[in-house]
Symmetry: C2
Subunit: 254 residues, 2 copies
């Protein structure tokens, strides 16, 4: 039996121009692709390569299946949107490895990074992440809501730019609104809030609204929501939406 | 006079396999490359393309120069390591645009995202950014040290994984040690601390040390330092350094 391997590949956020050559190579070398169906559809067809599509949940089962295929000698690529290390499949792979069959520890595992959604959204807007920033998942499937509230409060008070991943879903309809109402108790009403949906895809839709209006703005599970810091600024343009940026300097640091 | 343009290009963290096709295209279309000399050296030679190397400081002057070239009709690429929106040139461009010649606002400006250092370092290690995380610059050139301490304290208390950019330089020799000593008052002595130097280059050097030993570990301006959360775990390997990952679940969320 030949030695198997596993690579966790980040596709970036949609457009082919953001897929790194290293990630492309990893996809083409794989005998088996494992991942959420729509992500697999973004990998070029390759004769003889097996595809194992799954839905967008049960990540640990998918991870265990991928490790098992690699243990059987397959060259497995686990495919993630964006960056696999940011609220995606890489952590699930290592959770499964940590708790699973000790034989899996002999499998060579590589992670190929990708452009995560907040970097792509930021690029489209200007430089909203120009200062200190954080990334917080609003999903309370894996951590209690009170932890999310405590973390959000801490970074709001400390004036980080905040990227909210997994802001909303059918099963979690109220969390985003609650988060934005909390933000409004700490940041000014005119703070820019970015709603970046499907960045890099034909259906890309990006809007910038003041915090006061944000709790009523539409969002879905394909939206990345970004909360500006007190220093985040708009530069109006004659046409189109304004640039959004956060200066590098802060307070007396200028 | 033909219409000029400006693109801020992220090269990613060193290796060619991490340079996106969109960033490659942007470099090849430019008539003028502006940026820190060693970054310009990573762009392929192209006949007729002008290069404007600078040192690694005076970002706003460099930004103004680039905008001025674009205003004169040149196709300008401003080159950044990693992602240009993360403690790099994009914010400097928009600072200059916001305060500079109003005519500059007619210039089409695009930002091409790249793999930022913390994503590349995380990929090399496993999935240390698997939970909520933040990125904080330790440079007190642009913000007061007391703001940095307040922000660091907030995210330490709220149990984020923390990536420290610009941890140390000749002019800022003590800040990293202070930051790690502060971390040691809040997080456990065995918390994994990652020192990732020159990720993606031949001189790449990555070490993982417990927080108790971290204040005395070596680092330089090419090092990305990552402070694990309370849940960040090691998976030992028979050879080489351990995998490092942060589970997606937290507390009662499991």
């Amino acid at each position: 039996m030949s030695a198997g391997s596993l690579v966790v590949v980040g596709l970036g956020p949609g457009q082919a121009g953001w897929l790194t050559p290293a990630a492309s190579d990893a996809l083409s070398r794989a005998t088996d692709l494992v991942g959420y169906g729509p992500y697999l559809d973004r990998a070029p067809d390759q004769p003889g390569q097996r595809r194992h599509p799954s839905d967008n949940r049960v990540e640990v089962e998918r991870a265990a299946m991928a490790l098992d295929l690699a243990a059987k000698g397959r060259q497995v690529a686990v495919v993630s949107g964006g960056d696999p290390g940011v609220f995606a499949m890489a952590a699930a792979i290592f959770e499964a490895l940590d708790e699973g069959d000790p034989a899996w520890r002999a499998i060579p595992i590589i992670v190929e990074p990708g452009i995560t959604a907040m970097l792509a959204a930021a690029a489209r807007l200007g430089a909203p992440l120009g200062g200190d920033f954080c990334a917080l998942s609003l999903s309370d499937n894996l951590k209690p809501w009170d932890v999310i509230v405590a973390r959000l409060t801490a970074v709001l008070m400390a004036d980080f730019v905040i990227s909210l991943y997994n802001p909303i879903s059918k099963a979690r309809p109220w969390q985003l609104r609650e988060a934005l109402l909390l933000a409004a108790t700490i940041r000014a009403p005119e703070t820019p809030i970015i709603f970046a949906r499907n960045v890099g895809r034909p259906s890309e839709d990006i809007t910038v609204v003041p915090l006061a209006a944000a709790p009523d703005a539409p969002a879905d599970m394909s939206t990345l929501v970004m909360i500006g810091a007190s220093t985040t600024r708009l530069i109006p343009r004659e046409t189109g939406r304004p640039y959004v940026y956060t200066p590098r300097f802060y307070g007396a640091g200028r």
